[in-house]
Protein backbone atom coordinates (compact mmCIF):
# COMPACT_ATOMS: atom_id res chain seq x y z
CA UNK A 1 0.00 0.00 0.00
CA UNK A 2 2.83 2.39 0.88
CA UNK A 3 4.71 1.78 -2.35
CA UNK A 4 1.46 2.05 -4.26
CA UNK A 5 0.87 5.46 -2.72
CA UNK A 6 4.42 6.62 -3.39
CA UNK A 7 4.20 5.73 -7.06
CA UNK A 8 0.83 7.36 -7.47
CA UNK A 9 2.01 10.53 -5.75
CA UNK A 10 5.01 10.81 -8.03
CA UNK A 11 3.06 10.22 -11.22
CA UNK A 12 0.33 12.64 -10.14
CA UNK A 13 2.85 15.33 -9.28
CA UNK A 14 4.10 15.60 -12.87
CA UNK A 15 0.95 17.30 -14.17
CA UNK A 16 1.05 19.57 -11.14
CA UNK A 17 4.48 20.89 -12.10
CA UNK A 18 3.44 21.42 -15.71
CA UNK A 19 0.30 23.27 -14.75
CA UNK A 20 2.18 25.69 -12.53
CA UNK A 21 4.85 26.32 -15.18
CA UNK A 22 2.27 26.64 -17.94
CA UNK A 23 0.22 29.21 -16.11
CA UNK A 24 3.29 31.21 -15.26
CA UNK A 25 4.36 31.41 -18.90
CA UNK A 26 0.88 31.99 -20.27
CA UNK A 27 0.22 34.70 -17.75
CA UNK A 28 3.41 36.48 -18.88
CA UNK A 29 2.12 36.30 -22.46
CA UNK A 30 -1.06 38.17 -21.58
CA UNK A 31 0.79 41.45 -21.84
CA UNK A 32 2.60 43.81 -19.53
CA UNK A 33 0.51 44.82 -16.54
CA UNK A 34 2.32 48.14 -16.46
CA UNK A 35 0.07 49.40 -19.23
CA UNK A 36 -2.99 48.50 -17.23
CA UNK A 37 -1.98 49.82 -13.86
CA UNK A 38 -0.22 53.11 -14.65
CA UNK A 39 -1.94 56.02 -16.32
CA UNK A 40 -1.10 56.66 -19.97
CA UNK A 41 0.67 59.81 -18.91
CA UNK A 42 3.19 57.96 -16.73
CA UNK A 43 6.78 58.82 -17.45
CA UNK A 44 9.22 56.14 -18.60
CA UNK A 45 10.92 56.44 -15.18
CA UNK A 46 7.68 55.71 -13.39
CA UNK A 47 7.05 52.75 -15.65
CA UNK A 48 10.55 51.40 -15.07
CA UNK A 49 10.16 51.86 -11.33
CA UNK A 50 6.82 50.00 -11.31
CA UNK A 51 8.31 47.19 -13.38
CA UNK A 52 11.32 46.92 -11.14
CA UNK A 53 9.21 46.93 -7.98
CA UNK A 54 7.24 43.94 -9.23
CA UNK A 55 10.13 42.29 -11.02
CA UNK A 56 8.65 42.64 -14.50
CA UNK A 57 11.92 43.96 -15.96
CA UNK A 58 13.73 40.67 -15.44
CA UNK A 59 13.71 37.99 -18.12
CA UNK A 60 10.99 35.38 -17.88
CA UNK A 61 13.30 32.60 -16.58
CA UNK A 62 14.58 34.91 -13.84
CA UNK A 63 11.02 35.83 -12.93
CA UNK A 64 10.16 32.15 -12.84
CA UNK A 65 13.11 31.39 -10.58
CA UNK A 66 12.17 34.21 -8.23
CA UNK A 67 8.58 33.03 -8.24
CA UNK A 68 9.50 29.46 -7.39
CA UNK A 69 11.94 30.59 -4.69
CA UNK A 70 9.33 32.82 -3.12
CA UNK A 71 6.66 30.21 -3.41
CA UNK A 72 8.89 27.79 -1.55
CA UNK A 73 8.93 30.32 1.31
CA UNK A 74 5.15 30.60 0.98
CA UNK A 75 5.51 34.12 -0.34
CA UNK A 76 3.22 34.49 -3.32
CA UNK A 77 3.61 38.23 -3.85
CA UNK A 78 1.00 40.92 -3.55
CA UNK A 79 -2.01 41.69 -5.66
CA UNK A 80 -1.48 44.49 -8.16
CA UNK A 81 -5.10 45.45 -7.74
CA UNK A 82 -5.47 45.67 -4.00
CA UNK A 83 -1.96 45.42 -2.63
CA UNK A 84 -3.05 42.57 -0.37
CA UNK A 85 -0.90 39.46 -0.19
CA UNK A 86 -2.00 37.10 -2.95
CA UNK A 87 -2.17 34.06 -0.69
CA UNK A 88 -4.47 35.84 1.72
CA UNK A 89 -6.87 36.73 -1.09
CA UNK A 90 -6.81 33.24 -2.46
CA UNK A 91 -7.26 31.60 0.91
CA UNK A 92 -10.18 33.86 1.58
CA UNK A 93 -11.91 32.91 -1.66
CA UNK A 94 -11.00 29.23 -1.52
CA UNK A 95 -13.35 27.96 1.23
CA UNK A 96 -16.41 29.32 -0.57
CA UNK A 97 -15.62 27.35 -3.70
CA UNK A 98 -14.45 24.30 -1.79
CA UNK A 99 -17.67 24.14 0.19
CA UNK A 100 -19.71 24.57 -2.95
CA UNK A 101 -17.72 22.00 -4.93
CA UNK A 102 -17.50 19.52 -2.05
CA UNK A 103 -21.21 19.67 -1.41
CA UNK A 104 -21.88 19.33 -5.12
CA UNK A 105 -19.71 16.23 -5.55
CA UNK A 106 -21.13 14.62 -2.42
CA UNK A 107 -24.70 15.12 -3.57
CA UNK A 108 -23.88 14.17 -7.16
CA UNK A 109 -22.15 10.91 -6.23
CA UNK A 110 -24.72 9.81 -3.66
CA UNK A 111 -27.64 10.79 -5.86
CA UNK A 112 -26.13 9.12 -8.90
CA UNK A 113 -25.42 5.91 -6.99
CA UNK A 114 -29.02 5.72 -5.91
CA UNK A 115 -30.64 6.66 -9.22
CA UNK A 116 -28.13 4.77 -11.36
CA UNK A 117 -28.51 1.57 -9.32
CA UNK A 118 -32.28 1.79 -9.49
CA UNK A 119 -32.08 2.22 -13.26
CA UNK A 120 -29.60 -0.60 -13.69
CA UNK A 121 -31.55 -3.11 -11.64
CA UNK A 122 -34.12 -3.46 -14.40
CA UNK A 123 -32.59 -2.39 -17.72
CA UNK A 124 -35.10 -0.98 -20.20
CA UNK A 125 -37.76 -0.63 -17.52
CA UNK A 126 -39.75 2.57 -17.11
CA UNK A 127 -37.47 3.68 -14.27
CA UNK A 128 -34.42 3.05 -16.42
CA UNK A 129 -35.80 5.00 -19.35
CA UNK A 130 -36.86 7.90 -17.19
CA UNK A 131 -33.48 8.01 -15.42
CA UNK A 132 -31.74 7.81 -18.79
CA UNK A 133 -33.68 10.70 -20.25
CA UNK A 134 -33.31 12.86 -17.13
CA UNK A 135 -29.60 12.21 -16.76
CA UNK A 136 -28.88 12.83 -20.43
CA UNK A 137 -30.78 16.10 -20.26
CA UNK A 138 -29.03 17.07 -17.04
CA UNK A 139 -25.62 16.36 -18.55
CA UNK A 140 -26.42 18.46 -21.63
CA UNK A 141 -27.96 21.63 -20.20
CA UNK A 142 -25.71 24.68 -20.52
CA UNK A 143 -24.99 25.58 -16.90
CA UNK A 144 -25.02 29.35 -17.40
CA UNK A 145 -28.42 29.11 -19.01
CA UNK A 146 -29.71 26.85 -16.26
CA UNK A 147 -28.51 29.41 -13.73
CA UNK A 148 -30.27 32.23 -15.56
CA UNK A 149 -33.45 30.23 -15.87
CA UNK A 150 -33.26 29.47 -12.15
CA UNK A 151 -32.96 33.14 -11.42
CA UNK A 152 -35.82 33.93 -13.81
CA UNK A 153 -38.19 31.36 -12.39
CA UNK A 154 -37.37 31.10 -8.68
CA UNK A 155 -35.76 34.47 -8.13
CA UNK A 156 -37.82 36.83 -10.25
CA UNK A 157 -41.13 35.21 -11.10
CA UNK A 158 -41.76 33.29 -7.87
CA UNK A 159 -39.47 35.31 -5.62
CA UNK A 160 -38.60 32.24 -3.53
CA UNK A 161 -34.85 32.40 -3.72
CA UNK A 162 -32.25 35.15 -3.69
CA UNK A 163 -30.68 35.83 -7.09
CA UNK A 164 -27.14 36.52 -5.95
CA UNK A 165 -24.78 36.82 -3.01
CA UNK A 166 -23.69 34.54 -0.19
CA UNK A 167 -25.43 36.32 2.65
CA UNK A 168 -28.46 34.71 4.19
CA UNK A 169 -29.66 31.28 5.18
CA UNK A 170 -29.43 28.02 3.35
CA UNK A 171 -31.62 29.37 0.55
CA UNK A 172 -28.68 31.25 -1.00
CA UNK A 173 -27.10 27.87 -1.68
CA UNK A 174 -29.96 26.37 -3.63
CA UNK A 175 -29.48 27.91 -7.06
CA UNK A 176 -25.64 27.82 -7.18
CA UNK A 177 -25.63 24.27 -5.90
CA UNK A 178 -28.28 23.15 -8.36
CA UNK A 179 -26.45 24.80 -11.25
CA UNK A 180 -23.16 23.21 -10.36
CA UNK A 181 -24.74 19.87 -9.53
CA UNK A 182 -26.70 19.25 -12.67
CA UNK A 183 -23.94 18.22 -15.06
CA UNK A 184 -21.89 15.96 -12.75
CA UNK A 185 -25.08 14.34 -11.57
CA UNK A 186 -26.27 13.65 -15.10
CA UNK A 187 -22.95 12.22 -16.19
CA UNK A 188 -22.52 10.12 -13.06
CA UNK A 189 -25.99 8.59 -13.26
CA UNK A 190 -25.08 7.24 -16.68
CA UNK A 191 -21.71 5.95 -15.50
CA UNK A 192 -23.23 4.28 -12.45
CA UNK A 193 -25.96 2.74 -14.54
CA UNK A 194 -23.50 1.44 -17.12
CA UNK A 195 -21.08 -0.14 -14.70
CA UNK A 196 -23.91 -1.39 -12.52
CA UNK A 197 -25.55 -3.18 -15.45
CA UNK A 198 -22.17 -4.79 -16.10
CA UNK A 199 -21.69 -5.78 -12.47
CA UNK A 200 -25.22 -7.11 -12.11
CA UNK A 201 -24.74 -9.47 -15.04
CA UNK A 202 -21.42 -10.77 -13.66
CA UNK A 203 -21.24 -14.42 -12.58
CA UNK A 204 -20.58 -13.53 -8.95
CA UNK A 205 -23.95 -11.83 -8.84
CA UNK A 206 -25.57 -15.03 -10.11
CA UNK A 207 -23.72 -16.86 -7.34
CA UNK A 208 -24.96 -14.38 -4.77
CA UNK A 209 -28.49 -14.89 -6.01
CA UNK A 210 -27.99 -18.65 -5.87
CA UNK A 211 -27.17 -18.18 -2.19
CA UNK A 212 -30.56 -16.57 -1.70
CA UNK A 213 -29.38 -12.96 -1.48
CA UNK A 214 -32.18 -10.42 -1.91
CA UNK A 215 -32.04 -7.37 -4.17
CA UNK A 216 -30.56 -5.09 -1.51
CA UNK A 217 -27.77 -7.54 -0.73
CA UNK A 218 -27.07 -8.19 -4.41
CA UNK A 219 -26.89 -4.52 -5.32
CA UNK A 220 -25.23 -3.02 -2.27
CA UNK A 221 -23.35 -6.04 -0.95
CA UNK A 222 -21.93 -7.36 -4.19
CA UNK A 223 -22.43 -5.26 -7.31
CA UNK A 224 -21.94 -1.75 -5.97
CA UNK A 225 -18.38 -2.18 -4.79
CA UNK A 226 -17.39 -3.68 -8.11
CA UNK A 227 -19.24 -1.06 -10.08
CA UNK A 228 -17.88 1.92 -8.22
CA UNK A 229 -14.36 1.97 -9.67
CA UNK A 230 -15.20 3.68 -12.98
CA UNK A 231 -17.57 5.94 -11.08
CA UNK A 232 -14.70 7.15 -8.91
CA UNK A 233 -12.49 7.83 -11.92
CA UNK A 234 -15.16 9.83 -13.68
CA UNK A 235 -16.03 11.65 -10.45
CA UNK A 236 -12.39 12.72 -10.20
CA UNK A 237 -12.42 14.08 -13.75
CA UNK A 238 -15.72 15.82 -13.10
CA UNK A 239 -14.33 17.44 -9.97
CA UNK A 240 -11.66 19.06 -12.16
CA UNK A 241 -14.43 20.23 -14.46
CA UNK A 242 -16.20 21.73 -11.45
CA UNK A 243 -13.69 24.59 -11.63
CA UNK A 244 -15.24 25.43 -15.01
CA UNK A 245 -18.66 25.34 -13.44
CA UNK A 246 -17.49 27.40 -10.48
CA UNK A 247 -16.30 30.17 -12.81
CA UNK A 248 -19.74 30.37 -14.39
CA UNK A 249 -21.74 29.97 -11.20
CA UNK A 250 -19.70 32.46 -9.23
CA UNK A 251 -19.92 34.95 -12.08
CA UNK A 252 -23.68 34.60 -12.47
CA UNK A 253 -24.47 34.60 -8.76
CA UNK A 254 -21.76 37.02 -7.71
CA UNK A 255 -20.04 34.66 -5.28
CA UNK A 256 -16.58 35.68 -4.06
CA UNK A 257 -15.06 32.26 -4.81
CA UNK A 258 -11.86 31.18 -6.45
CA UNK A 259 -13.39 30.86 -9.93
CA UNK A 260 -14.43 34.48 -9.96
CA UNK A 261 -11.09 35.47 -8.47
CA UNK A 262 -9.23 33.72 -11.30
CA UNK A 263 -11.34 35.25 -14.04
CA UNK A 264 -10.99 38.69 -12.53
CA UNK A 265 -7.23 38.24 -12.09
CA UNK A 266 -6.82 37.31 -15.74
CA UNK A 267 -8.92 40.20 -16.93
CA UNK A 268 -6.95 42.56 -14.64
CA UNK A 269 -3.57 40.92 -15.33
CA UNK A 270 -3.14 40.36 -11.60
CA UNK A 271 -0.37 37.81 -12.02
CA UNK A 272 0.41 37.10 -8.39
CA UNK A 273 -3.18 36.34 -7.51
CA UNK A 274 -3.78 34.29 -10.65
CA UNK A 275 -0.71 32.16 -10.03
CA UNK A 276 -1.51 31.64 -6.38
CA UNK A 277 -5.08 30.71 -7.27
CA UNK A 278 -4.02 28.29 -9.99
CA UNK A 279 -1.40 26.76 -7.73
CA UNK A 280 -3.94 26.16 -5.00
CA UNK A 281 -6.42 24.73 -7.50
CA UNK A 282 -3.76 22.45 -8.96
CA UNK A 283 -2.73 21.26 -5.49
CA UNK A 284 -6.35 20.57 -4.65
CA UNK A 285 -6.79 18.59 -7.86
CA UNK A 286 -3.57 16.74 -7.10
CA UNK A 287 -4.82 15.86 -3.61
CA UNK A 288 -8.13 14.80 -5.11
CA UNK A 289 -6.42 12.47 -7.57
CA UNK A 290 -4.48 10.87 -4.72
CA UNK A 291 -7.70 10.51 -2.77
CA UNK A 292 -9.35 8.81 -5.73
CA UNK A 293 -6.38 6.45 -6.03
CA UNK A 294 -6.51 5.60 -2.35
CA UNK A 295 -10.23 4.90 -2.64
CA UNK A 296 -9.54 2.64 -5.62
CA UNK A 297 -6.99 0.71 -3.62
CA UNK A 298 -9.27 0.43 -0.62
CA UNK A 299 -12.15 -0.82 -2.73
CA UNK A 300 -10.33 -3.21 -5.02
CA UNK A 301 -7.69 -5.51 -3.54
CA UNK A 302 -6.29 -6.21 -7.01
CA UNK A 303 -5.31 -2.55 -7.42
CA UNK A 304 -3.19 -2.70 -4.30
CA UNK A 305 -1.07 -5.44 -5.83
CA UNK A 306 -0.79 -4.43 -9.47
CA UNK A 307 0.49 -0.89 -9.44
CA UNK A 308 -0.12 0.96 -12.68
CA UNK A 309 2.84 2.89 -14.07
Amino acid sequence: MASFLRKRIISSAIPLVFVVLGVFCLARLTGNPVDLYLPLSATPEQRAEFSAAHGFDDSVPVQLWDYLGNAARLDFGVSLRTGEPADAMVLEAFPVTLQLAGMTMLLAVLGALLVGSLAAYRPQSAVDRLAGLLSMTAASIPDFWFAIMGVLVFGVALDWLPTSGTLGGPEVWVLPLATLLIRPFGVLVQVVRGSMVGALSAPYVKVARSKGADATRVVFGHALRNAITPVLTVAGDLAVGLVNGAVVVETVFGWPGIGKLMIDSILQRDFAVLQAAVLLTAVTIFALNILVDVCHALIDPRVRQAVPA
Binding site: I148, D237, M262
Partner: protein, 319 residues
Protein backbone atom coordinates in the same frame (compact mmCIF):
# COMPACT_ATOMS: atom_id res chain seq x y z
CA UNK B 1 -20.84 1.55 -39.22
CA UNK B 2 -23.30 4.31 -38.43
CA UNK B 3 -22.37 7.93 -38.72
CA UNK B 4 -23.83 9.61 -35.66
CA UNK B 5 -25.11 12.60 -37.58
CA UNK B 6 -26.63 10.68 -40.39
CA UNK B 7 -29.95 12.09 -41.36
CA UNK B 8 -31.78 9.25 -42.99
CA UNK B 9 -35.37 9.40 -41.96
CA UNK B 10 -36.25 6.36 -39.88
CA UNK B 11 -39.69 6.31 -41.46
CA UNK B 12 -38.19 5.37 -44.79
CA UNK B 13 -37.29 1.84 -43.70
CA UNK B 14 -38.50 -0.77 -46.11
CA UNK B 15 -39.32 -4.28 -44.95
CA UNK B 16 -36.62 -6.04 -46.91
CA UNK B 17 -35.39 -9.40 -45.81
CA UNK B 18 -31.92 -8.44 -44.67
CA UNK B 19 -30.16 -8.47 -41.32
CA UNK B 20 -31.28 -5.53 -39.18
CA UNK B 21 -29.58 -2.45 -40.54
CA UNK B 22 -28.55 0.27 -38.19
CA UNK B 23 -31.30 2.53 -39.46
CA UNK B 24 -33.87 -0.13 -38.83
CA UNK B 25 -32.66 -0.39 -35.27
CA UNK B 26 -32.72 3.41 -35.09
CA UNK B 27 -36.30 3.39 -36.29
CA UNK B 28 -37.27 1.08 -33.46
CA UNK B 29 -35.92 3.40 -30.80
CA UNK B 30 -38.19 6.40 -30.96
CA UNK B 31 -36.03 8.57 -28.71
CA UNK B 32 -32.89 7.99 -30.73
CA UNK B 33 -34.76 8.50 -34.00
CA UNK B 34 -36.15 11.82 -32.78
CA UNK B 35 -32.67 12.86 -31.66
CA UNK B 36 -31.27 12.01 -35.10
CA UNK B 37 -33.96 14.08 -36.79
CA UNK B 38 -33.33 17.08 -34.50
CA UNK B 39 -29.59 16.92 -35.11
CA UNK B 40 -30.13 16.58 -38.85
CA UNK B 41 -32.37 19.65 -38.79
CA UNK B 42 -29.81 21.67 -36.83
CA UNK B 43 -27.09 20.72 -39.27
CA UNK B 44 -29.27 21.55 -42.28
CA UNK B 45 -30.21 24.93 -40.83
CA UNK B 46 -26.57 25.66 -40.03
CA UNK B 47 -25.46 24.65 -43.51
CA UNK B 48 -28.10 26.33 -45.61
CA UNK B 49 -29.90 28.77 -43.28
CA UNK B 50 -27.70 31.72 -44.10
CA UNK B 51 -28.52 31.42 -47.80
CA UNK B 52 -32.08 32.47 -47.07
CA UNK B 53 -31.38 35.00 -44.37
CA UNK B 54 -29.80 37.88 -46.24
CA UNK B 55 -29.07 40.58 -43.68
CA UNK B 56 -32.00 39.69 -41.45
CA UNK B 57 -29.75 38.71 -38.56
CA UNK B 58 -28.09 42.12 -38.41
CA UNK B 59 -30.78 44.42 -39.78
CA UNK B 60 -31.77 46.81 -37.00
CA UNK B 61 -35.18 48.30 -36.64
CA UNK B 62 -35.54 50.28 -33.45
CA UNK B 63 -39.28 50.65 -33.91
CA UNK B 64 -39.52 46.88 -33.65
CA UNK B 65 -37.42 46.70 -30.47
CA UNK B 66 -38.22 43.92 -27.97
CA UNK B 67 -41.28 42.55 -29.73
CA UNK B 68 -42.47 39.36 -28.06
CA UNK B 69 -42.87 36.21 -30.13
CA UNK B 70 -46.06 36.47 -32.17
CA UNK B 71 -47.63 35.61 -35.48
CA UNK B 72 -48.29 39.25 -36.41
CA UNK B 73 -44.93 40.23 -37.81
CA UNK B 74 -44.27 37.71 -40.48
CA UNK B 75 -41.93 34.74 -40.44
CA UNK B 76 -38.98 36.54 -38.93
CA UNK B 77 -41.08 38.03 -36.16
CA UNK B 78 -42.19 34.59 -35.08
CA UNK B 79 -39.75 34.37 -32.19
CA UNK B 80 -39.74 38.07 -31.33
CA UNK B 81 -37.02 40.68 -31.65
CA UNK B 82 -34.13 41.87 -29.51
CA UNK B 83 -33.48 45.35 -28.18
CA UNK B 84 -32.20 46.57 -31.53
CA UNK B 85 -35.21 45.15 -33.29
CA UNK B 86 -33.31 42.30 -34.89
CA UNK B 87 -35.21 39.13 -35.55
CA UNK B 88 -34.42 36.50 -32.89
CA UNK B 89 -35.28 33.74 -35.35
CA UNK B 90 -32.81 35.05 -37.92
CA UNK B 91 -30.15 35.44 -35.26
CA UNK B 92 -30.76 31.91 -34.00
CA UNK B 93 -30.21 30.58 -37.53
CA UNK B 94 -27.11 32.70 -37.97
CA UNK B 95 -25.79 31.62 -34.55
CA UNK B 96 -26.40 27.97 -35.40
CA UNK B 97 -23.95 28.28 -38.26
CA UNK B 98 -21.35 29.99 -36.04
CA UNK B 99 -21.74 27.51 -33.19
CA UNK B 100 -21.44 24.49 -35.45
CA UNK B 101 -18.59 26.02 -37.45
CA UNK B 102 -16.68 25.99 -34.17
CA UNK B 103 -17.89 22.74 -32.64
CA UNK B 104 -17.54 20.53 -35.72
CA UNK B 105 -13.96 21.45 -36.70
CA UNK B 106 -12.88 21.33 -33.04
CA UNK B 107 -14.34 17.84 -32.59
CA UNK B 108 -12.88 16.63 -35.89
CA UNK B 109 -9.41 17.97 -35.07
CA UNK B 110 -9.27 16.46 -31.62
CA UNK B 111 -10.79 13.21 -32.91
CA UNK B 112 -8.16 12.87 -35.64
CA UNK B 113 -5.13 13.91 -33.62
CA UNK B 114 -6.20 12.24 -30.39
CA UNK B 115 -7.12 8.94 -32.04
CA UNK B 116 -3.94 8.82 -34.12
CA UNK B 117 -1.74 9.57 -31.11
CA UNK B 118 -3.68 7.20 -28.88
CA UNK B 119 -3.57 4.26 -31.31
CA UNK B 120 0.11 4.89 -31.95
CA UNK B 121 0.94 5.11 -28.23
CA UNK B 122 -1.22 2.14 -27.32
CA UNK B 123 0.15 -0.05 -30.08
CA UNK B 124 3.80 0.65 -29.33
CA UNK B 125 3.47 0.79 -25.56
CA UNK B 126 6.44 1.47 -23.30
CA UNK B 127 7.95 4.92 -23.20
CA UNK B 128 5.79 6.31 -26.00
CA UNK B 129 2.65 5.22 -24.20
CA UNK B 130 3.85 6.70 -20.92
CA UNK B 131 4.69 10.07 -22.38
CA UNK B 132 1.41 10.31 -24.26
CA UNK B 133 -0.55 9.44 -21.14
CA UNK B 134 1.29 11.97 -19.00
CA UNK B 135 0.63 14.68 -21.57
CA UNK B 136 -3.03 13.75 -21.53
CA UNK B 137 -2.99 13.92 -17.72
CA UNK B 138 -1.47 17.37 -17.80
CA UNK B 139 -4.05 18.71 -20.21
CA UNK B 140 -6.94 17.07 -18.41
CA UNK B 141 -5.94 18.13 -14.93
CA UNK B 142 -6.19 21.73 -15.94
CA UNK B 143 -9.71 23.11 -16.11
CA UNK B 144 -10.39 23.62 -19.81
CA UNK B 145 -12.33 26.82 -19.34
CA UNK B 146 -9.34 28.35 -17.61
CA UNK B 147 -6.93 27.40 -20.39
CA UNK B 148 -9.35 28.93 -22.82
CA UNK B 149 -9.69 32.10 -20.78
CA UNK B 150 -5.94 32.56 -20.50
CA UNK B 151 -5.19 31.75 -24.12
CA UNK B 152 -8.04 33.80 -25.50
CA UNK B 153 -6.79 36.68 -23.51
CA UNK B 154 -3.32 36.40 -24.98
CA UNK B 155 -4.48 35.97 -28.52
CA UNK B 156 -7.57 37.59 -29.88
CA UNK B 157 -10.71 35.54 -29.34
CA UNK B 158 -11.26 34.69 -32.99
CA UNK B 159 -13.24 31.67 -34.08
CA UNK B 160 -10.02 30.05 -35.27
CA UNK B 161 -8.40 30.35 -31.84
CA UNK B 162 -11.46 29.00 -30.08
CA UNK B 163 -11.43 25.98 -32.37
CA UNK B 164 -7.75 25.40 -31.64
CA UNK B 165 -8.11 25.66 -27.87
CA UNK B 166 -11.13 23.41 -27.75
CA UNK B 167 -9.40 20.89 -29.99
CA UNK B 168 -6.29 20.80 -27.81
CA UNK B 169 -8.31 20.65 -24.62
CA UNK B 170 -10.25 17.61 -25.87
CA UNK B 171 -7.42 15.65 -27.46
CA UNK B 172 -6.75 13.70 -24.24
CA UNK B 173 -10.26 12.27 -24.26
CA UNK B 174 -9.69 10.53 -27.60
CA UNK B 175 -6.09 9.79 -26.77
CA UNK B 176 -7.09 7.86 -23.67
CA UNK B 177 -9.89 5.97 -25.38
CA UNK B 178 -7.81 5.06 -28.43
CA UNK B 179 -4.85 4.05 -26.30
CA UNK B 180 -6.96 1.78 -24.13
CA UNK B 181 -8.41 0.08 -27.21
CA UNK B 182 -5.05 -0.29 -28.93
CA UNK B 183 -3.33 -1.57 -25.80
CA UNK B 184 -5.98 -4.22 -25.44
CA UNK B 185 -5.85 -5.18 -29.13
CA UNK B 186 -2.09 -5.24 -29.55
CA UNK B 187 -1.77 -8.58 -27.78
CA UNK B 188 -4.53 -10.21 -29.83
CA UNK B 189 -3.68 -13.03 -32.15
CA UNK B 190 -4.62 -11.31 -35.41
CA UNK B 191 -2.29 -8.44 -34.61
CA UNK B 192 0.51 -10.88 -33.82
CA UNK B 193 -0.24 -12.63 -37.10
CA UNK B 194 -0.01 -9.37 -39.03
CA UNK B 195 3.26 -8.59 -37.28
CA UNK B 196 4.80 -11.93 -38.20
CA UNK B 197 4.08 -11.13 -41.85
CA UNK B 198 6.22 -8.04 -41.49
CA UNK B 199 3.33 -5.63 -41.74
CA UNK B 200 4.59 -2.17 -40.77
CA UNK B 201 3.18 -0.66 -37.59
CA UNK B 202 1.37 2.09 -39.44
CA UNK B 203 -0.47 -0.43 -41.58
CA UNK B 204 -1.41 -2.57 -38.58
CA UNK B 205 -2.79 0.47 -36.83
CA UNK B 206 -4.71 1.55 -39.91
CA UNK B 207 -6.04 -1.82 -41.03
CA UNK B 208 -6.44 -3.76 -37.81
CA UNK B 209 -6.78 -1.40 -34.89
CA UNK B 210 -8.64 1.55 -36.33
CA UNK B 211 -11.69 -0.34 -37.65
CA UNK B 212 -12.27 -1.91 -34.23
CA UNK B 213 -11.70 1.25 -32.24
CA UNK B 214 -13.70 3.47 -34.58
CA UNK B 215 -17.23 2.85 -33.23
CA UNK B 216 -16.09 3.67 -29.70
CA UNK B 217 -14.23 6.75 -30.89
CA UNK B 218 -17.25 7.96 -32.82
CA UNK B 219 -19.43 7.52 -29.77
CA UNK B 220 -16.98 9.53 -27.72
CA UNK B 221 -16.93 12.17 -30.46
CA UNK B 222 -20.70 12.46 -30.45
CA UNK B 223 -20.69 12.96 -26.70
CA UNK B 224 -17.79 15.33 -26.92
CA UNK B 225 -19.63 17.40 -29.48
CA UNK B 226 -21.92 18.38 -26.58
CA UNK B 227 -19.03 19.24 -24.36
CA UNK B 228 -17.39 21.41 -27.00
CA UNK B 229 -20.64 23.17 -27.78
CA UNK B 230 -21.25 23.83 -24.10
CA UNK B 231 -17.73 25.15 -23.57
CA UNK B 232 -17.94 27.45 -26.56
CA UNK B 233 -21.28 28.71 -25.27
CA UNK B 234 -19.83 29.27 -21.80
CA UNK B 235 -16.88 31.19 -23.25
CA UNK B 236 -19.13 33.33 -25.39
CA UNK B 237 -21.40 33.84 -22.41
CA UNK B 238 -18.44 35.00 -20.29
CA UNK B 239 -17.54 37.46 -23.04
CA UNK B 240 -14.32 35.86 -24.22
CA UNK B 241 -15.63 33.63 -26.96
CA UNK B 242 -17.41 34.77 -30.08
CA UNK B 243 -17.35 38.56 -30.26
CA UNK B 244 -20.08 40.80 -31.69
CA UNK B 245 -21.05 41.48 -34.42
CA UNK B 246 -20.78 37.73 -34.90
CA UNK B 247 -23.30 35.81 -32.89
CA UNK B 248 -23.42 32.41 -31.28
CA UNK B 249 -26.06 30.85 -29.06
CA UNK B 250 -24.00 31.41 -25.92
CA UNK B 251 -23.46 35.05 -26.81
CA UNK B 252 -27.18 35.49 -27.44
CA UNK B 253 -27.90 34.23 -23.92
CA UNK B 254 -25.38 36.71 -22.52
CA UNK B 255 -26.88 39.56 -24.54
CA UNK B 256 -30.40 38.62 -23.52
CA UNK B 257 -29.50 38.31 -19.86
CA UNK B 258 -30.03 41.98 -19.07
CA UNK B 259 -33.50 41.92 -20.61
CA UNK B 260 -34.47 38.78 -18.73
CA UNK B 261 -37.32 40.41 -16.87
CA UNK B 262 -38.72 42.37 -19.79
CA UNK B 263 -37.96 40.15 -22.79
CA UNK B 264 -37.41 36.55 -21.65
CA UNK B 265 -37.33 35.17 -25.22
CA UNK B 266 -33.96 36.68 -26.07
CA UNK B 267 -32.11 34.59 -23.47
CA UNK B 268 -34.43 31.60 -23.19
CA UNK B 269 -34.66 30.60 -26.86
CA UNK B 270 -30.94 30.31 -27.66
CA UNK B 271 -30.47 28.35 -24.44
CA UNK B 272 -33.24 26.01 -25.52
CA UNK B 273 -31.53 25.64 -28.89
CA UNK B 274 -28.27 24.65 -27.20
CA UNK B 275 -30.05 22.21 -24.96
CA UNK B 276 -32.06 20.62 -27.74
CA UNK B 277 -28.91 20.05 -29.79
CA UNK B 278 -26.78 18.72 -26.95
CA UNK B 279 -29.50 16.48 -25.54
CA UNK B 280 -30.06 15.04 -29.02
CA UNK B 281 -26.35 14.38 -29.43
CA UNK B 282 -26.22 12.68 -26.03
CA UNK B 283 -29.24 10.50 -26.74
CA UNK B 284 -27.85 9.53 -30.12
CA UNK B 285 -24.43 8.79 -28.62
CA UNK B 286 -26.02 6.50 -26.07
CA UNK B 287 -27.83 4.72 -28.85
CA UNK B 288 -24.74 4.38 -31.04
CA UNK B 289 -22.86 2.91 -28.11
CA UNK B 290 -25.58 0.33 -27.63
CA UNK B 291 -25.92 -0.40 -31.33
CA UNK B 292 -22.21 -0.90 -31.91
CA UNK B 293 -21.70 -3.12 -28.86
CA UNK B 294 -22.47 -6.70 -29.88
CA UNK B 295 -22.95 -7.65 -26.25
CA UNK B 296 -25.59 -4.99 -25.70
CA UNK B 297 -27.17 -4.76 -29.10
CA UNK B 298 -29.95 -7.21 -28.35
CA UNK B 299 -31.40 -4.75 -25.87
CA UNK B 300 -32.42 -2.52 -28.76
CA UNK B 301 -34.38 -5.30 -30.35
CA UNK B 302 -36.39 -6.34 -27.33
CA UNK B 303 -39.92 -5.18 -27.99
CA UNK B 304 -40.86 -3.16 -24.96
CA UNK B 305 -44.28 -4.55 -24.26
CA UNK B 306 -44.85 -7.17 -26.88
CA UNK B 307 -42.20 -9.51 -25.60
CA UNK B 308 -42.12 -12.77 -27.44
CA UNK B 309 -43.60 -11.42 -30.64
CA UNK B 310 -41.70 -12.72 -33.60
CA UNK B 311 -39.67 -10.02 -35.29
CA UNK B 312 -39.96 -9.69 -39.05
CA UNK B 313 -36.23 -10.01 -39.56
CA UNK B 314 -34.31 -13.18 -40.23
CA UNK B 315 -31.63 -14.45 -37.87
CA UNK B 316 -28.53 -12.41 -37.39
CA UNK B 317 -27.39 -13.24 -33.92
CA UNK B 318 -28.25 -15.86 -31.39
CA UNK B 319 -27.45 -14.98 -27.84
Amino acid sequence: MSAPDDRTSPAATSPRTRPPRWWRLLGRDRGAAAAAVVLALVFLVALFGRLFLGDRAVRQDLRASLRPPSLDHGFYGLLGTDVLGRSVLARLVDAAATTLSIAVPAVLCSLLIGSALGLWAGYHGGMRENVAMRVADVILSFPSLLIAVVVLYVFTPSAMNIVLILAVARIPVYLRTARAEAAELRSRLFVDAARTFGTPASAIIRRHLLPIALPTLLTVATLDFCFVMLTESSLSFLGIGIQPPEVSWGLMVAQGRQYLQTAWWIAVLPGLAIMLTTVSATVLAAWVRLATDPGQRWRLTLPRKRRGERAAVPPEMIA
